[in-house]
Amino acid sequence: MYLKRLELQGFKTFADRTELDLTSGITAIVGPNGAGKSNILDAILWALGEQNVRSLRGSRSQDVIFSGSDKRRPVGMAEVTMTIDNSSGRLPLEFSEVTITRRAFRSGDSEYFINKTPCRLRDIYELFMDTGVGREAYSIVSQGELDAVLSARPEDRRSLFEEAA
């Protein structure tokens, strides 16, 4: 199981449709300050169902939608699609490839899809249950958050270990 492709449109600074094809090995993402690297990580967290706007560095749910620039007007929708290789059958679905799509509109509405079929957020959480993937997993470390793994109070560290149990 690995992340095969990520498609972004209208998500933060990715105003235009952008596609990122990935292999199962190591991919490094590089570029100048403010170019949009961490926005890619935010897109993955968001597609996995992240609901806390602060984890996406915003203060309202609309903060993920491209809000315009010098020369461009804001857009009305943000959409992210993750294509996951499921040839190992780790996800409880018959398909060898699974796509997850999330959309947000300026109106505040949200839409979720699994393999282009509308679903609820809960369905996405249940799909990833126990696979080690998901918003709460220790395997996604946002910028500046590494120290939090250590500095949490001793009681807060328990959940990391429970996740590994």
Binding site: F14, L22, G25, I26, T27, G31, V133, S139
Partner: protein
């Protein structure tokens, strides 16, 4: 579930000893349950000893030592329960050159079981990657992906050079 937790805790403690000593080139670690009689509420104390130094309170560690210790713990958790993919955003920023190389090596090792997406400004981490993606903002405010190639000598000079959009 108590047995599961204890079993996972012990496995992570053993793995942590290995990943820590790999990243620091030696040293010792201890993970201690603050309240072993109450597994639902117990905290987890982390005690580390970098090579050649005395046992210290974690707070006295340097910026780089803390980042390396947190990374070692994450890899220990992933050893016990591998996750399909792992995304790390500039976790190598506080590290000096030799420690970035050690980090890149351990990522390489783990990439047999886990897909890695590493956001970085460090040359040694870029070199460890199978693929490189550049994110640029040729048009202000709009992120675009470009494919990049490393120039110059290995671990030497030269930025990641932007090839083409």
């Amino acid at each position: 579930t108590h047995d599961l937790f204890i079993h996972a805790f012990r496995a992570v403690a053993d793995a942590f000893e290995i990943t820590f000593s790999r990243l620091f080139g030696g040293g010792k670690t201890q993970l201690i349950l603050t309240d072993p009689d109450d597994l639902l509420e117990t905290g987890i104390e982390i005690i580390v000893q970098p090579p050649g130094k005395n046992l210290q309170n974690m707070t006295l560690l340097s910026g780089g030592e803390k980042a390396l210790t947190a990374t070692a713990l994450l890899f220990a958790l992933m050893k016990v329960k591998p996750s399909p993919f792992c995304i790390m955003d500039e976790v190598d920023a506080p590290l000096d050159e030799p420690n970035v190389e050690r980090f890149a090596e351990i990522v390489r090792d783990f990439s047999l079981d886990t897909q890695f997406i590493i956001i970085t400004h460090n040359r040694a981490s870029m070199e460890a990657a199978d693929n490189l993606y550049g994110v640029t903002m040729q048009e202000p405010g709009i992120s675009k992906l470009v494919s990049v190639k490393l120039t110059g000598v290995p671990s030497g000079d030269g930025e990641a050079v932007i090839l083409a959009a």
